[in-house]
């Protein structure tokens, strides 16, 4: 079947035909683009098989724990190719994001051997790693016998790849030489501006270039757009998730840190500096003036929903949140634009903090080698390209995908400014938190403090001093301070 098609694909893989030519050719043969994509992957799958014994774990079954997410959907859509390639079977449990990490924690804390690999965020590995629930993946990545030579570990964006590696020392530098690779990055989010171009034009403002401008622009938008539209959407719920997107990205741009690490490895709170206080004041003022009225309940969903429904004029949050809101049945689909944001006028470039959806291997897996086969396929260049071009796998973590013209074209067509935004901010994109086991305690309390400041229950200076004091106490109590 499809002999002609296969020939064409093989020609492409040999480099005789370029991708456009291939798709065009296949289209001429009467194949829909999606079928072509699958076939293409099928061809690539066969190509993969050429240099590496993919069949080493034939007949084995592994089980995954997945979050309900476009990344997982993209993987599932392509899974048959993996099964064909390896002769392995893959089963999976998908849980809604709202409860996903509870499920992960419950399964791992009980040392459940049920799941071999699972999706996770890099921050979570700061708990899972020291707890002994996940495996250092260097053992496999660096073993040529177990990893396909075409895997191209160096192809991963360095900031992202390093953000997934930690030596386990509280305060240790991410991606240091002695770091353990707790997870493989899969897709990631940079925090930048997504804005409603129509509203900006209506009011006559341009994209803010720093924090002062953002406060002013947001205030003007709130005042002038009308219809209850407010200027800037940021998260505000009592959760770590309030701290890590726009807030920390801007904070880091002012060279501020969450924690200080002393020479002897002791940690102490670093948010009560004068610069930090100034920044907090500005941030709090911005929310009070032009944030959502019920900011303190705002999570990813509300920030996105408001932008998508035209209730907010811009957001300073994950780029892919803006990406999602620019599609689907959202009212503002196709009307949004993207821009990188550099909060500090004195900074050279944006420094977005990032969230990384990654894959980790459970330490309780009964067959880690087989599991690694899946992981390297799922994070390999072929699947990354498939996900990015055929599915909504943004942002890919491989440079080769970002270099792919088809992918860039696809983005440029419907997501104005997205690629440019990415290119500007990617070099400075990394996790800006200090890795340590009290990450969630610290960020939750930070968010609660922000809420109190916005509600004017506590002045900014005093709130930060109290926060620092409380965090120092907790660090000491945990033997870290």
């Amino acid at each position: 079947m499809h002999e002609k098609e296969k020939d064409l694909i093989d020609a492409f893989l040999r480099g005789q035909v370029d991708r456009r030519g291939l798709i065009k050719g296949l289209g001429a043969m009467g194949l829909a683009a999606s079928t072509a994509g699958t076939l293409l992957n099928f061809g690539q799958t066969r190509a993969l098989a050429a240099d590496f014994d993919w069949q080493a774990h034939k007949g084995k079954t592994i089980k995954l724990l997945l979050n309900k997410h476009p990344y997982a959907d993209a993987m599932i859509a392509n899974l048959d190719n993996f099964k064909q390639l390896t002769g392995m079977n893959v089963v999976y449990d998908v849980f809604p994001e709202d409860v996903y990490f509870d499920k992960v924690t419950a399964a791992l804390s009980a040392s459940s051997p049920e799941y071999d690999a699972f999706m996770t965020g890099a921050y979570m590995t700061w708990t899972y790693g020291p707890a002994g629930w996940i495996t250092d993946l260097n053992e496999w990545i660096k073993d040529p016998a177990k990893t396909n030579p075409k895997y191209a570990w160096d192809d991963f964006l360095p900031g992202v790849r390093k953000s997934c590696a930690w030596n386990g020392q509280p305060g240790g530098v991410l991606g240091s030489d002695d770091a353990k690779q707790w997870c493989i990055p899969w897709g990631f989010e940079q925090n930048n501006i997504t804005y409603n171009k129509g509203m900006f034009d209506k009011v006559g403002v341009s994209v803010p270039g720093n924090m002062d401008e953002m406060v002013a622009t947001a205030a003007k938008l709130t005042k002038d757009v009308g219809g209850g539209v407010y200027g800037i959407g940021v998260r505000g719920s009592r959760s770590w998730a309030t701290i890590h997107p726009g807030f920390l990205s801007a904070y880091a741009n002012f060279d501020q840190k969450d924690l200080n690490v002393s020479a002897d490895g002791k940690l102490s709170a670093a948010m009560s500096t004068a610069e930090s206080k100034a920044f907090h004041k500005q941030w709090v003022q911005m929310i009070q003036e032009s944030g959502p009225k019920d900011w303190s309940t705002y999570t990813w969903y509300q920030v996105g929903t408001d932008l998508g429904a035209g209730a907010s004029a811009m957001i300073y949050d994950a780029d892919i949140l803006g990406y999602f809101m620019n599609g689907g049945d959202n009212k503002m689909a196709g009307k949004l634009a993207f821009a990188a944001f550099k909060a500090n006028p004195a900074a050279k470039a944006p420094t977005p903090n990032i969230w990384i959806w990654s894959l980790s291997m459970s330490n309780f897996s009964k067959d880690k080698d087989a599991t690694w086969y899946f992981m390297q396929w799922a994070s390999g260049p072929e699947h990354a390209l498939f996900g990015a071009t055929k599915m909504d796998f943004v942002n890919p973590v491989r440079q080769s995908v970002w270099n792919d013209q088809m992918f860039r074209d696809k983005l440029n067509k419907s997501y104005p400014g997205y690629v440019e935004m990415f290119d500007v901010s990617a070099p400075g994109a990394s996790i800006k938190f200090t890795p340590q086991p009290l990450f969630f305690d610290l960020t939750t309390e930070w968010a609660a403090t922000l809420q109190k400041m916005v509600a004017k229950e506590v002045p900014v200076d005093e709130g930060l001093d109290k926060l620092a004091e409380s965090i120092n106490g907790q660090l000491k109590e945990a033997g870290l301070g």
Partner: protein
């Protein structure tokens, strides 16, 4: 009581209307949202007029969900089935275990009866979170993790105390003489239990059963922690519409409507028992 003035009737009518509006308005609003997509749900200000669509229900029932990020497979009907299965069996088991125990506590003041009854109740106030981690560990060792049997067992924590304590009250309200009379007429304790106690406490058992059913239905932490995706109830399933590409309010509303329906049907069917109180009527007192 029978001679109510016009004014009082009007005031009662107004009060009842306010009650109905407060409790039913969100339900009606959810019902309306279930026939809309986010596009019409998320309007400023919210509006009553919309073009109804069955898309949400179609998506739930066929298991294909169209989102900003493509078509997703959803297992909502599977979740619904799990909820029905888990709730029905858990309540059935709880009734089987709880009703005889309630009868024992109500009728036989035996040594330690109050202590045992209290112990059974105290399981109700052990917060789920407290036992979750050890429970997961032990379930794994016992092979009960990820089994319906294990879940039904744990669900007894929700159902059993409720049934036990409510039904016990109803049994105690049956005058002992009525049962004595049946015993003296020559019937065994079991016949008395079956022919006298059970029918007379029937409404109480129905009410307790329904409440236990509702609480079992609304629970999700146990299934979430102890079982894999194919055994999740509708409460977890409905959360799947909180996707990273937005909250699908229309689908969640439809999911709520679909998940209320079986319970509501059950309640309407058993209506006569639920709101009757004890069937002792004039004999009591």
């Amino acid at each position: 009581m029978e001679h109510t003035s016009l004014l009082e009737r009007i005031l009662r009518g107004i009060a009842l209307a306010l009650v109905v509006i407060f409790f039913m308005f969100p339900i009606v609003w959810i019902l309306m949202m279930s026939f809309q997509t986010n596009e019409t749900i998320l309007r400023i200000p919210p509006q009553l007029v919309f073009e109804p669509t069955l898309a949400n229900y179609t998506a739930l029932i066929t298991g294909k969900l169209m989102t900003a990020a493509g078509t997703l497979d959803i297992a909502f009907m599977r979740n619904l089935w799990n909820s029905v299965f888990l709730s029905v069996t858990s309540v059935a088991v709880a009734l089987l275990l709880g009703v005889p125990a309630a009868y024992a506590f109500a009728r036989h003041k035996f040594r330690g009866s109050e202590d045992i009854a209290f112990t059974l109740l105290s399981f109700r106030f052990a917060p789920a979170l407290l036992v979750l981690l050890p429970l997961t560990l032990y379930f794994q060792k016992l092979g009960l993790a990820n089994t319906y049997i294990g879940l039904i067992w744990v669900y007894q924590l929700i159902c059993l105390p409720l049934i036990l304590w409510i039904v016990r009250g109803y049994f105690e309200d049956i005058p002992a003489d009525i049962e004595y009379a049946y015993r003296i007429a020559g019937h065994s304790w079991f016949a008395t239990f079956r022919k006298i106690a059970l029918p007379l406490a029937g409404p109480g058992i129905a009410a307790a059963g329904l409440l236990a059913f509702i609480f079992a239905w609304n629970n999700f932490v146990f299934a979430l922690v102890l079982a894999s995706a194919d055994k999740q109830p509708v409460t977890v399933g409905a959360l799947a519409f909180i996707t990273s590409s937005g909250i699908q309010y229309g689908q969640i509303s439809a999911a709520i409507v679909l998940s209320i329906t079986p319970t509501l049907a059950l309640a309407l069917y058993a209506q006569r028992y639920l709101v009757e109180g004890l069937s002792l009527g004039a004999v009591k007192g």
